[in-house]
């Protein structure tokens, strides 16, 4: 279970998150929506402490990761798989090395065993037989699938997806949506997806949370979101330029990477 309370984050004194409160149950499939720059990806990165919050608490299975030392944080991160927006595959490694890097670092599995696991994960994402290719040889959709295979390689309890369908054609995007649903069912993982793609959100979500003005503005099932009367929600799901959502987009600023590091 993930519980987030009073989470705030500012960049250059401009608040992005002003007090987010969320509770995500195990096995649930939650989609976080909101317009670009509203802090969705920031929130997702905070769930693994890739970005530290200014204040607030993030409890993963009852443990507050905002207060953890490096060793404990890495222990918790092993329970979480992340699919990054651009897949973030390691250019210098083959597909197999990408998928098994985490296992290679944290376990003593043999090369044969690692290859078997990589093959299994690739089959789960419907992309068998590409173990020895390099990321440069893959299409955008294939990269996302390999990124997903890497995210689930260590049998995580939670899988976080940052804009999984962005940059893909509608057919590939739908294939990724189906994949997310099938992995959620097969692996019994908790799924958290950040997107502004409403087709994807409606298909994947048990529950949709809309971020607006730095807080979780609206929550409900896809049906409840579809029938919402709130003007802000309506403007977003209908994709209209005119309406109450007009705030300036605050872009994520690079963090000073040494903050919070200990030696």
């Amino acid at each position: 279970m993930i519980e987030i309370s009073d989470l705030t984050k500012s960049f250059n004194d401009k608040p992005v998150l002003r007090g987010v409160n969320l509770s995500i149950k195990s096995g649930e499939s939650v989609v976080i929506i909101g317009r670009s720059g509203c802090g969705k990806s920031v929130l997702l990165k905070m769930m693994t402490m890739l970005l530290p919050p200014d204040s607030g608490r993030i409890l993963i299975d009852g443990e507050d990761i905002t207060l953890m030392d490096d060793q404990n944080l890495y222990r918790v991160r092993r329970k979480i798989g992340v699919l990054f927006q651009g897949a973030a595959l390691f250019d210098s490694m083959t597909v197999q090395e990408n998928i098994t890097l985490g296992l290679r670092e944290h376990t003593d599995l043999s090369e044969t065993e690692l290859r078997r696991i990589a093959e299994e994960r690739l089959e789960l994402v419907s992309l068998p037989g590409i173990l020895d290719l390099k990321p440069a040889e893959l299409s955008g959709g294939m990269k996302k699938r390999v990124g997903l295979a890497r995210a689930i390689a260590m049998d995580p309890k939670y899988v976080l997806y940052d804009e999984p369908t962005t940059g893909l054609d509608p057919i590939s995007a739908d294939a990724i949506n189906n994949l997310i649903i099938s992995l959620n069912e097969k692996l019994k993982v908790t799924t958290i997806v950040v997107t502004h793609d409403m087709v994807s959100a409606n298909k994947i979500a048990d529950r949709i949370i809309m971020l607006h003005r730095g807080v979780n503005f609206f929550e409900g099932t896809p049906e409840q979101v579809k029938n919402a009367e709130d003007e802000v929600v309506r403007q977003f799901i209908e994709g209209k330029a005119d309406g109450p959502i007009k705030q300036v987009i605050v872009k994520e600023q690079p963090r000073e990477w040494w903050r919070g590091k200990r030696f």
């Binding site: 990165k45 693994t48 890739l50 490096d70 890495y74 222990r75 991160r77 092993r78 979480i80 798989g81 992340v82 990054f84 927006q85 651009g86 973030a88 595959l89 390691f90 250019d91 890097l101 985490g102 670092e105 944290h106 890497r150 260590m154 690079p254 000073e256 990477w257 040494w258 590091k261 030696f263």
Partner: protein, 256 residues
Amino acid sequence: MKNALVRLGRLTESFFAEAGGIFILLGQILRFSTRLYKDRSLFIEQCVSVGLNSVPIVLLVGVFTGAVSAWQTNYQIEGYIPIRYLGLGTFKAVIIELGPVLSALIIAGRVGASIAAELGSMKVTEQIDALESLAINSVRYLAAPRFYASVFMMPILVIFADFIAIIGALMTATLLLGIPSATFFSEIPKFFWIWDIFAGEIKALIFGGTTALIGCYIGFKTEGGAEGVGRSTIRSFVLSSILILVFDYILATIFF
């Protein structure tokens, strides 16, 4: 006046923030020294990239450094100092100063800039975040092997550079200046101090560490896509080169 003071204050703050960041990274890298044996495959991979792949360029720089040193020394001492001291002068200049400093500057361009570009590109494409999300410490996995490989390989490269520079100087002396090789080497044993070689090697070690540390620091701090990676590459080379020259001065005043 007030604006100038504000700007000065900001510059000072930014200088200390950057210096603090570099020292924190160094502290973290030193903490991972105990993991070096476990991470030996990463270390060896970097030794090949930093060391072995730099041998040709270091040798090329070495041979011309030695050759030009011999030629210039001859020009400066001709008529004032006996020509038998040419070998000694060139030898000392190469071992103490030219070998370590020129090799370090070449490595700052070849290796330091490449570290900054590689890590910078990983940073802007979220590969470093991906590494961290796999519960792998990015400083241990990326910075520590590069730092230790540079510290280890730089003195070896300098020995190669020194050796080939002396050969270059000897070739110039014998083939172009008409000085017999026996004369060239005649005064070296009388004024040869092992400390000179040692000091040159300590310099190389510090220059190697500085280059890798700056490359890693700037790489980790990269932002702003391809343009940012380009900026980081230049910054890494410029900052490493400046620090190499500053440290060279400081070490010279300490050692000699």
